[in-house]
Symmetry: C2
Subunit: 260 residues, 2 copies
Amino acid sequence: MTGGGVKRHYLNMFKDMRRPEVLKNEKRITKGDLTRDRIFTVALNLFREKGFEGTTMREVAAAANMSLGAAYYYFASKEAIVLGYYEKVQEEHELRLAKGLETSKDFRERLGVVMHSKLDILKDDRGLMSALFRFFGNPKHPLSIFAPETRIFRSSAIAVMEQAIGDEKMPPDLREIAPQLLWVMHLGFLFYFIYDESPGQEKSHRLVDGALDVVMNLLTVARLAVMKPFRGKLIKLMKDAGLLIPREEARPMLAEAVEV
Amino acid sequence: MTGGGVKRHYLNMFKDMRRPEVLKNEKRITKGDLTRDRIFTVALNLFREKGFEGTTMREVAAAANMSLGAAYYYFASKEAIVLGYYEKVQEEHELRLAKGLETSKDFRERLGVVMHSKLDILKDDRGLMSALFRFFGNPKHPLSIFAPETRIFRSSAIAVMEQAIGDEKMPPDLREIAPQLLWVMHLGFLFYFIYDESPGQEKSHRLVDGALDVVMNLLTVARLAVMKPFRGKLIKLMKDAGLLIPREEARPMLAEAVEV
DNA sequence: GTCTATACCGAGATAGAC
DNA sequence: GTCTATCTCGGTATAGAC
């Protein structure tokens, strides 16, 4: 992230971020698509073996049997590769939930499916996740959690929470903010998760279950008609702070891919 | 964060982190202490002017009239300088609160003083804060929010929340977790703050006030005897997850400095 | 359009002479 | 305690082969 001459040019960071999966639906798979895929796969393996910081682009290029320049031809930076991974995670999450969410009728159970499956997907890649966390606090960086460039991941993940809520009985005002509140909680889980060295990250899974139970308790209270003024305050607070994402912006990622 | 040869050696990152303020209380001020101070001051000015990423150690060294190697003799890395800044912030916060907290009898008011004064202290240094946020998600890094190396800042900040609570009437179990909950909320404020481009970061201050009002509402409910089982669940959850810091660990930083 | 080869830059960091 | 020289790294740039 540091080296390199002259000015950073973040905006040019993603030369072509379309995923292999999407490309398959298009006219034809070019040779370059395969090469891009090879770099991507090889890089992720290296990241898992030696960590993100510990892997150089030169190693990636070497492992993919090509020159440094060729690797940079496809990925503008090391981080761009990681972003591609994040995209894959979100897709995998949505795929798993497509099956899991339908079979479970209970709201609490659906929330559990959402959270646990996310951790399952990430179980071997906590190091990678922590590499991504680096950018969360940097508003100027395109990999930041609030950057325009990552909007699609953010809104897709929030849409997943909406799906989990489904038609669970809930006052409309609460329904408006619930997906985002769940999403923030999910971020908290991820944060705990990457720090969690317990075998199989069992502590994280226990935390998820305990927290969800508490949430269900909170929900039964929050649902009460008496609580409406309080809910109103909370919503106003979030709106004034610009923390409420318009619902139409929250949509699953796979839906976008198909639409192309 | 990236460049540099061979292996990182995080453990050796802080060659001598004792602050100038503390050193003044010791036998004598060596020439090296002055040099260290000069580097520190010059570096912070550069960071404010050109940002953290935009400032090179070579510039810092040049501005302090010394060689690159000499600068590295005092600070093992660019980040180590920033950590020194964070230490200064915590001290400044405690100093301001020493006056502010005594005069205000109302709990809500005291919380406001704590949160607003923190933002005031940081108002010109949002870029620096975001540089610090980079490490929060990396469990292996000593600048991480959960690393042993930053324990003192963490516990000092929590101790501040304890001070703000003071002898406010509160069930003992709630009193046990309240400081940490407030601290986490305070982290949320900081996160919003570094993203907040509104003039004077007025939106952040409004968010603080709105959120604290909501907290006071929550508190009146949480205090009720009926809520005891619920509080118990929450505490058990935090304890099981290892998220409860023993209270004796939470103490103001200035107290430690004096104690030496 | 895809890729190699290579030279170059500036960054953070280090070793060892003084 | 300080400096010079040097290392590795990430990234840029370019010329040219296929």
